[in-house]
Every structure is written in structure tokens, then in C-alpha cells.
Amino acid sequence: MRYLIIGTGPAGIAAAEKIRGLDEENEILMLTSEEIAGYSKPLITYFLGRKVNEDRMFYRPPWYFEERNISVMTSTKVIEVNPAKKLVITESGEAINYDRLLIATGGLPIVPEIEGLNPSEMEGVFTFTQWKDSKDVAKYITDNDVTEAVVLGGGLIGLKTTEALLELGLKVSIVELSDRILSNTFDKKASMIVTSALQKRGCNVYTNDTIVQVKGKKKITKVVLKSGREIKTKLLIIAIGVKPNVGFLKESGVRVNRGVVVNEHMETNITDIFAAGDCAEFYDPRLGKSSTIAIWPVAFSEGEVAGYNMAGERVSYQGGIPMNSVEIAGVATISVGNTSAEVENVEILEYESDKRSVYKKLVIKDGKLVGAVFVGDIDRAGIYTGLILQKVDVSSFKDDLMRDDFGLVYLPKEYRKKLMEGELKVWLE
Amino acid sequence: MAKRRSTADFVLERDDYKCIRCLACVRVCSYGANFYDERENMVFTENRKCVGCHFCEAICPTEAIVVQHNPLAIRWNAHWTSEVVTDIMKQAETGGVLLTSMGNDKPYFTYFDRMVLNASQVTNPSIDPLREPMEIRTFIGKKPLSLELEESEGSVALKTQIAPQLKLEVPIMFSAMSYGSISLNASKSLAKAAQTVGTYFNTGEGGLHKDLKEFGENMIVQCASGRFGVNVDYLNAGAAVEIKIGQGAKPGIGGHLPGEKVTEPISETRMIPVGTDAISPAPHHDIYSIEDLRQLIYAIKEATRYKKPVGVKIAAVHNVAPIASGIVRAGADFVVIDGIRGGTGATPKVTRDNVGIPIELAIAVVDKRLRDEGIRHLASIIVAGGIRKSSDVIKAIALGADAVYIGTAALVALGCHLCQKCYMGKCNWGIATQDPKLVRRLNPEIGARRAANLLRAWALEIKEILGGMGINAIESLRGNRDVLRGVGLQEHELEILGIKPAGEAW
């Protein structure tokens, strides 16, 4: 029997680990379209900023797979899945059979249509989702003496890339369509703190704006913004987001909405085909809706659930929530859950200290914590995450939540007891 | 006269090089004696607030702290001692009765220290307790004068009905200390230790906390003049009932637990409203004679269906022997006698230090009196008040006791350093306090382990000494005054103790 896993990101690896934990005998084969497997994608910006060398890029080093008897085929892109024959077809025409298949192909960068831009022909324009991108950008900067760059998209990838470019001494301009950077997870105040930290480091932040035209013949020379501003640049990074990488499933019969639709066991509509991670769209029967949360911990957890179920152990996924931790321009930030004030009937608790550049916000709905933002001071943020995930009623200790010394001691005794005795299971059931 | 600040009893010396500013001493002192000066980055002590409990010294990780007596708090004077002078000053200030805690600390001499034990040489070989059985199990309760046996079909059965007994694996029990005077964790420690070793603890007069119910088989419940928490369930909750008439630390007076200490759980246990003073009257208002006492004893026996021994506790006073005789005749299954060294959570100093007689003399006269009257078998004698070590236990039993109660020694095992400030309710060791911040300092698992260790250690020593005397059962030691000799005692004292002077053979 063969377990076939397409993708070597966190979902794929988590699944392989779980399968191996439960099934020591059968073959596990992992495929990746990239040249290298087992490296960590979030580290590609650290690599660009020279904070992480080649050795430290490996989330799971090559020997790790060997040790666990997991085979990996790199540079193997799957272009078709045939459930009837239980086969996948690769770009090179090879057919690989499977008994159980996991689709963990992650996301593909979104490239908008911009006048004058044909990324495959124009040099100096990059998306930024693979290690190869990071290496290519680094090489391009050196080869072309790049001293300034434009980053399109003020989301997480855009900002982490910006930070790496700042590390390399480049002058960076960020162009963001919405009214603030990190608009998905941050409110105005949190955004402002990060924005001013970036500005202090010489970065330009243009919000409510976008690139309408790219100039340059073979190589990019300039971008024109909607506001009319023109920025001279030899480098453009496009980081406006990713979409599930599911194009190859078109003919397969696997149900795809935005991503591959899966139930709480990470099963698709077709027997023996599972999906997990950024390419999957989890339908939560309790909420009656489906969503893709493209973050590492969710991908990893979904991968684990897929692994359990592929190996025959019935485990249900509890659903995840968006969350992210990122340090930008020296400012540590964490956002968890629903952090926007736009949701109705919520109560907002805020703490602000200009002196310390600290901002904290908690969003409470129906007595329960549903979202949290921490900027500048992230210590013990996980306690709040726990309250959100466990849906603990915080009404009785609401006034303590913003205390400087807030900790487990302020939690209801019952919850604390369960927590301390390790009785709470987050994410998996 | 200008107000005079009281003199510090103790001086806390802190080695500044060793002090790592961990501030543990600051955090733990319930009297607020230690404090940290942030600007100086130094830890200081207000010596006047120090009670000499040594908790900070015990917890200091670098041994930077030494607590010492203030050597010349008051100019030295053999008659006007610093204690006397300080007491006068306090009374001049307050106009009130001086309170204190724990037992009498005055240098009356201790008869235990003037008695020595015998050992076997040549003619009656000694016994090695590690090789041969050594019986120290003790039964408390009324014994029959003779046994009647019944023989049928080749087997023999006991015909005599034996009165209810307490079975002690060691002849040592934990004396009455109420929940209120000591913390629940202290009670739990003793209860657990009693259970482990196979002996008994005593609830004191504070009623029974629900957490202690599970230790019923190793518990003696007390019924005192305040009758706190006493009902039929309470009387039946333990293995025996003890009527408390008096206490060695405060003969002739009652007790008073101030309303501030009557917290929710205490109120529940004592069955009185929160915040009210818990006053134990000096006498039981229904006992003015031996006949009255007999009524109470039998009322309790009725309530417990004659299944539990009922005893009476009195303080050792001048007339202890005839009183004990009356108690036995009133139907008590055991008599508890508490000597002048007996401890307490709070008592007027003048009473503690001056009223009552030494337990050694009381044991001797009570045992003799009951023997002379032929009623010794009707009740066991339990003695208390200043039993400090295994040799005190052996000597007490040799003088005529069946078993002893230990209170102070047990608390010392739990951490008590005899600072005598129990009445303040701020005990840093978590023993004599109800402050939830302090109570948690006594982990009952540790407490139980230590108290049980103490009993085990004493039991081993008792066996060692018995073996040395060629005795293999504690039965043979009881009232065996021949094994005792007095050193430096006057003739009449020897007579009262019923022992010969050292140097005199049998």
C-alpha cells in the first residue's frame, strides 16, 4: 500500500509524520514541484535578509525523511489526478499510483493585471512564495546593484519581504490598496504603530493606492501608482496574496470550490483522497460554512488530522482560527481570531502606551473572547489564544484581562485546573 | 514620660555579600519585618517586628540571614530580667492582661531530667529489638479484672465482654488542638500521620471540619465547655470522645477565639455565626460535681451506644489524684492529665507560667491513688504537657501512664519554632493561623510525613531502651517505677514520685 502526498509543506509533513506514527510498514511517498523538500516557506524572507543561512532553512532536513523511511521526489509536478485508476500524472508524463492520496499543494501567488506588466518577460518583477524566489531576488539585487524596491501588498508576505529588503540596505516603498497595512488582521492603531516603525527605518508606505502601470523594456525601471505618484525602481515584489493551488484537479472530479472542499476528517468528496493546508477549504458542519485559513498552524493541524484518518484512525478537526505572529521593523505583533471592530455587538477592550509603543486590543462577543491584537508586548499572548479557542466565558474576569500581570491566576479555577492537568485538547479531538 | 519604643527581642543580621536580593524573606514575613529599599537596592529588617520564628532564615537560599537574640535589650539583672521589665512596659502601655502562647517556658526544673533509667547487665540479659519481637502496642480503655473463657469442642473463646478500646501502635497520640487554634493543613497533617502510624489525633473543641471526617478511625473528638460543633454525629464521628474540663496551659480558665478569626469555614465547623467570638466558659455550666460529670459521661455513652471509650481531660493541679479518682468512679474509660508545661494557642501569661503542677508528679500520684483504691484497671491514664522526647515517654509510662499525648512536639515536627505568637494568628509556618496566604505554607503531605517520622523515630528509641532493660513489652514497663532512679531530688519528692534515689539497688 502506498500513501501518496503531494506537497512537502507543513500539511504534507504533518500528515506523513502522523501516518508513520501509526503505520510503520507501508510506503509513504511525497512529491514536490520544487527542487528542494523539507525547507520552511516562512523562512524565505529570513533567508533573503541573511538572518538564516542555507542549513537553517530546513524545517525537516533530508535525513529526517530517510530516518522515517519516507520517500521524497523533488521537481515532480503533478498535473492530473485520476481517481478511477488511483493514479497521478506528473509533468514529465510519469504515472504514480496511490492507495491513499493527500493533496497538500498549498497556494499560488496572485498576480494582478497591470498595464505594461508581463512577469514572465520582464526582469526585476517577482512573486515571493518559494525559496527559489528568494534566491532569485537576492541574485538579481547583486547583479543589478539594486538600491530601491517597491513591494505591492502590505500583507504579511509583503511586510516580511520589506523587512528583508531593509536589512539588505534597500530603500523600500510599500503600496497597499486598503487604508492600512496588515488590514486583514490589524485595526488602525496597530497598523499605525507598525507603519511608523517602518517609516523610522526609511520605508515609504503608500496606502489607499495601487500600481496601475509598470514601465521598463526588458527590465523594470518605474511604477506608476493610481494616485499619480511615480516611483523609480529596479525591483518589484508582488505580494498581494495567494490562492489555493488546485488547477491540476480540474478533470479529476474532486470537488473544488475556492479550495479543495474537505470535511472534518479532511476527506474530499472522493474516497481515499484527502486534502489539507492552504489548498483545502474546510467545511465546518457546526458553523455550516467553509473557509480556508492559510496559516502555518492550521496547515499543520489539518495535515495531522489527514494523517490520522489516512492511517485509519478516526480523528475530527475542530476548526482553526486565523492567527499570526510576526515581528516587523523590530516590533513584535500577534493577532488572533476576529480582530476587526466591524463585527456587530462586540465589546472592545484596549490598552495603549505611546511611551512603550505598546497596543493591545481584545474583542469580546457574547461574553467570549473572539479576537486579540498585541503590538509591542506579546508576552503570554497564548493565554488569550487559549481562551479564544476554548470559547471560555470571560465575563467574570473581563476587568482583569488587560492587567499588566494578567495570567493563569486570573482564569476561572475550573478552566485553570483543566489546563494545568493537561485535560484540554486544542484543535484535535 | 516620653513614650518609649519597645526594645527589639531579636536582631536579624543579613550578610550583604550573600544577599542576592531575591526578596524571598520580604515576601514571606507575615509580620512585615523585612523590607526592600529599591533606591539603595538593599534588604533591611525592622528588628522590632521580628518575632524570632526563623522562617526567613529557613527560606533564604544563600544563608545570608541569621536571627539572634538581642543580647542587651534590657540591662542585665538577675531579678529584674528583661522579660519582667518588658512585661511591665507593655502593661503600663495597654493596661491589659498579657497574652502568650505555647507552653510554660519558665525554668522550673523538669523531673524527667532528674530521673534516669536502668539497663540489664549479666543477670537479666538485654534484648535486641532488631532481632526479637518488641511489643509497644497499647490499648486505651476499661480493662476487666479477670478474664472468663469458654471451652467448646476443643476451642477456647473469650467469654468476658471487653469494653471498647483504642488500639495504639505506638503509645503516643496527638493532643487536642482545635481547627481554629491551628490551621486545617496542620490538622490534616496530624490526622494523616496518625492514620499512617496507627494512633490518634484529637479534634480539640473546635468541632469537626468535613475534610477530617475521613480520618474518623484515628480520631478522638473533644467535647468542651463551649460545646462547639457538638452533636450526635460529631460524637460518633471519631473512635473515642474526650470531655475536656481543663488544660495544662490554662487551668481554671476558659478559652476565647476572637470573632476576627471566626471565618466562614470556622463558623461552619464550630456551628456559630461568622465573626462572633467563640467563648469557652471556664467551667462546664452543667458540671459542678463528680455526679454531674457522670451524667455527661453517660449521656455521651448513650449517644455513642457504648461503642466508644469516653475520657475526661483535666489540668494537673494540687488535688489531681482525688479528682482523677472521682473521674474514674464517674465512669470515664480514660483520664487525661495535662501538666504545667502544656501548650495552647492563647492564654494569659500569668496563668500559663504559674498555675498547675509538673506532669511527672501528677502521673505518680494519680497512678498510686488509683492502684491504692483498686480502680486502676477501670481507666487508662494518658498524660500530656511538655513531653519532648522518647525518654520522656518511657519515664512517663514507667511512672504509671498508659500513653502520652504530644502537642508542642508534634507542631515542632511541622515546623513550629516556638516563637509563642500563635495568638496573633500570623504564624509564618502555616500552623497557628487561618490566613489563607499562610495556611498554604504547610503542605499536609510534608506535615504528615514529618509527624509520622517523629512517631516512628520515638517508637524505635522506645524499643531500644526497653530492650536494654530486658523488657520486651511496654506492658511490663507501665508503672514499673523500679526502672527509674532520681538524681538530685529531695527525699519527699522521691517519695511522691515513688522512686528510689540513684545508687540505691532494689
Binding site: 497564548g382 487559549g386 489546563l419 493537561g422 486544542v426 | -
Partner: protein, 153 residues
């Protein structure tokens, strides 16, 4: 998932006396000199205890990494630095791999992972003192409010 015996520190909340000795012994056990006085005098700047003492009115307790069976921090770690040691079952940080993204801080429901101080900008947490017979905090807790147990999984 590691099967077999796994060491775990039990926190007995009702017996913590709030002395905070666990903190200083933790720091000392992870210092160069392993000596309380020298640590205080020469090494304190770079060190932070991995045990956190919480206090509110009379309730105090010390808490350190629970080494969870299903550890959120291991799931969330983007570098593989946070990992479970297969021989001991404990959760460790590989300091060379950690890049300080603080995903682990975001997900730890106990709040016991800290940002490293000084030059060590990596996640810092309890390592169960596996080079010692007993963790320093457990060994030196004066009231046995921290107890080492072995759980079978």
C-alpha cells in the same frame, strides 16, 4: 507521539507560598557558574527564569512548560526549532534554529514561552533540567508545591 514514560512537573497550586525561589534556582541551574551569589553578581543580565510565578491575593503558583502531549508550540513552529525529543518526550527549543517569530508564544495556552533576553533573541522555555536528577525548581521548592511525576502515555 511518544509512547512510554514521560516526566512532568505537577503544579500544586494550593501549596505554593510565593517565595519565588523556583525562579532563582531555575536561572542558576541554567547559568555558567551554577552558583546563586555569582549569578546574582555577574550573570543576571542574560538570564531569565523559565518558570513563571503568578500571584493574586493569596493564590500563588509557579508554572513552567507543561511539555504537552499535543503541543501547540511544536505545531506552530515554522523552523522546526520547537520539537519533541523522542527519547525523553520533553519539548525543546533548538536555539540555533529558532528565528524568534514568536508563533509559539502566540499559541501556548499557558503563556510559558518567553522571548529570550539580551543577545539570545530566541524562544526560551523550561527544558525540565534533564541533565539533573530533579528539575531545579522542583528540587528547591520549599513546600513541595512543584513535584516531578512520570506519566504513562
Amino acid at each position: 507521539m511518544v509512547k512510554g514514560m514521560r516526566k512532568k512537573i505537577l503544579v500544586k497550586e494550593e501549596y505554593c507560598i510565593g517565595c519565588r525561589l523556583c525562579e532563582i534556582y531555575c536561572v542558576t541551574a541554567h547559568s555558567q557558574s551554577k552558583n546563586l551569589i555569582r549569578v546574582f553578581r555577574y550573570e543576571l543580565g542574560e538570564l531569565a527564569p523559565a518558570v513563571i510565578v503568578e500571584e493574586r491575593e493569596y493564590t500563588t503558583f509557579a508554572v513552567q512548560c507543561r511539555h504537552c502531549e499535543e503541543a501547540s508550540c511544536v505545531r506552530a513552529c515554522i523552523t522546526g526549532a520547537m520539537h519533541r525529543d523522542s527519547s525523553t518526550g520533553a519539548v525543546y527549543v533548538d536555539r540555533d534554529k529558532c528565528v524568534g517569530c514568536w508563533m509559539c508564544i502566540m499559541v501556548c495556552p499557558y503563556g510559558v514561552i518567553k522571548r529570550g533576553t539580551g543577545s539570545n533573541k530566541v524562544a526560551s522555555k523550561c527544558d525540565l533540567c534533564l541533565d539533573r536528577e530533579l528539575p531545579a525548581c522542583v528540587e528547591n521548592c520549599p513546600n513541595e508545591a512543584l513535584v516531578l511525576t512520570e506519566v504513562n502515555e
